[in-house]
Amino acid sequence: MCNITKETTFEAISTVIDPEVGFNLVEMGLIYDAIVDEACNVHVVMTLSTQGCPLHQMIKQWVGEAVEKLEGVGSVDVEVVWEPAWNISMADKNVKKALGGM
């Protein structure tokens, strides 16, 4: 029986902070989905705020490492996608407010 859910996966990823803006990836709206199968293998679908991000590989690695800390997790796979493209409307209210976007 796998106890890992999409919610617990998002919670784990929320420990990863973007060092440029200072918010975690979940509240930035960069994590699109987390698919957990019966064997507790996790597939994270995420994006980045810019395609030229020099931290691309590193952020992907941090997300993977954060999910691997979940108890009982199987394999972890992180996929970065560019569609749909990220925009500020995907971020939490506190992020929008802090960035001055509302």
Binding site: T15, V16, I17, P19, E20, V21, G22, S49, T50, Q51, G52, C53, P54, L55, H56, Q57, M58, W62, E65, A66, V80, W82, A85, W86, N87, I88, L99, G100, G101
Partner: protein
């Protein structure tokens, strides 16, 4: 998918000295400015010496360091031989010093300094071109990198011919060759590179997305064509061709500013940090530069041309570079010293890695100096120009100190 960058990222110890030396040369050039008067001719050797101290020592040095880091980001491939940057730095630094001494004290030194700079830039341009050949990307930014490096080669070859001409070793028309040299280096390399970098860096730091790039595509094409026309016109002595080139470059810069306006409208991040203030000031001074160049073309007043060039170099180019230093340097230091600690211990945010009061003092002193200097040149006022020099030098001291602290953060 774009697997970019840190696999290809050069180490901090390779890039940091470019910023260190660049800021030192900036400090020296602002110090030297205190000894200049607002009335001068572009063909004065001491003025040429100052321009090379500023453009080679500061502008080129910083751009080369930044390109070492950004070329892999833009092209999505690693450098062919990144270690050449260890050779480029001392050659460029020494070549700049020898050239400036040549302009100021002993013209016979010019070809030697020029040769050192020529070798540094040829290595830089050929390494970039070799790296360009590796990429499969065919974006406009990639094409712009190719064109700008081609113009850099033309610029340094004409520059070397000028060095030989000024030292008496080569019989050339110095005035026309100077125009070809200035346009190839300043328009063909510096401005094209800044335009290309703008399109990557400004949306990245301001979190602007989904904008139409038609304007900047037109801008790139117009500036590339205008530099070619002015260069050929200057080499062949066709004044009319140069005039068409000047007109096209105005149109190109107009489209570039229009593109920046489009990006600015979509900016998510409204925080006015030192980067945002610097970028705003850079574009205000670019507009002032355009305004005074139009005044020059109408009135043929030399003071308007001096003021225009002043706002272009000390305003636009300087603030574009300095503003980005407060973003790029903390990132490089963080990436080297703190990224491996993520998840293991608390790491600083990038904005915590520079002294905000020092950066604010840098901004206010430097921007006041730029505006006073522009007024000093326009009205040929020695007092205003000396005041500008004092403000700029004080701003440069703040830049130097904050930069040193950023580079030493977490050591």
């Amino acid at each position: 998918m774009t697997p970019v960058s840190q696999d290809f990222a050069p180490p901090l110890k390779l890039i940091a000295p470019f910023f260190d030396f660049g800021v030192l040369f900036y400090l020296l050039s602002m110090l030297a400015l205190l000894f200049f008067e607002p009335t001068f001719s572009y063909q004065q050797m001491d003025v040429a010496g100052w321009v090379h101290l500023f453009l080679l020592g500061f502008v080129m040095m910083i751009i080369f360091g930044a390109m070492a880091q950004l070329i892999p980001v833009v092209l999505e491939v690693g450098h062919v031989v990144v270690d050449v940057y260890y050779i480029i730095l001392p050659l460029l630094a020494l070549g700049t010093v020898v050239m400036v001494l040549g302009f100021w004290l002993m013209p016979a030194l010019l070809p030697y300094g020029g040769l050192l700079v020529l070798i540094a830039m040829i290595i830089f341009a050929f390494e970039n071109i070799a790296t360009l050949k590796k990429t499969e990307l065919r974006t406009l930014t990639v094409d712009t990198v190719a064109w700008s490096n081609g113009y850099l080669l033309l610029g340094i070859l004409t520059g070397f011919a000028l060095a030989l001409g000024l030292s008496g070793d080569l019989g050339i028309n110095v005035s026309l060759m100077l125009k070809a040299h200035v346009y190839a280096v300043l328009g063909g390399y510096v401005i094209l590179t800044i335009m290309g970098l703008s399109l990557t860096l400004i949306p990245m730091f301001s979190l602007a997305h989904g904008f139409d790039e038609t304007a900047v595509k037109r801008a790139f094409k117009l500036v590339i064509l205008s530099v070619a026309l002015v260069f050929v016109g200057a080499v062949l002595g066709f004044e009319w061709l140069m005039m068409i080139g000047y007109a096209l470059s105005f149109a190109g810069i107009f489209f570039y500013i229009w593109q920046i306006y489009i990006i600015a409208k979509l900016t998510v991040r409204k925080e006015l940090d030192v980067w945002a203030k610097s970028i705003i000031f850079a574009f205000v001074t670019l507009l002032l530069s355009i305004l005074f160049s139009i005044v020059y073309f109408i009135t043929e007043q030399e003071t308007a041309l001096h003021t225009s060039v002043w706002f272009l170099l000390l305003g636009f180019v300087t603030f574009f570079i300095i503003g980005h230093l407060y973003k790029i340097v903390p990132f490089l230091v963080w990436f080297e010293r703190f990224a491996p600690l993520v998840g293991k211990e608390k790491v600083p945010m990038l904005h915590e890695m520079y002294n905000k009061e020092g950066a604010a003092m840098m901004f206010w002193f430097t921007s006041a100096g730029v505006l006073l200097g522009g007024a000093g040149l326009l009205f040929e006022s020695g007092i205003l120009f000396k005041a500008a020099g004092s403000f700029l030098f004080t701003g440069a001291v703040f830049l130097y100190i904050t930069m040193k602290k950023m580079l030493a953060y977490g050591e």
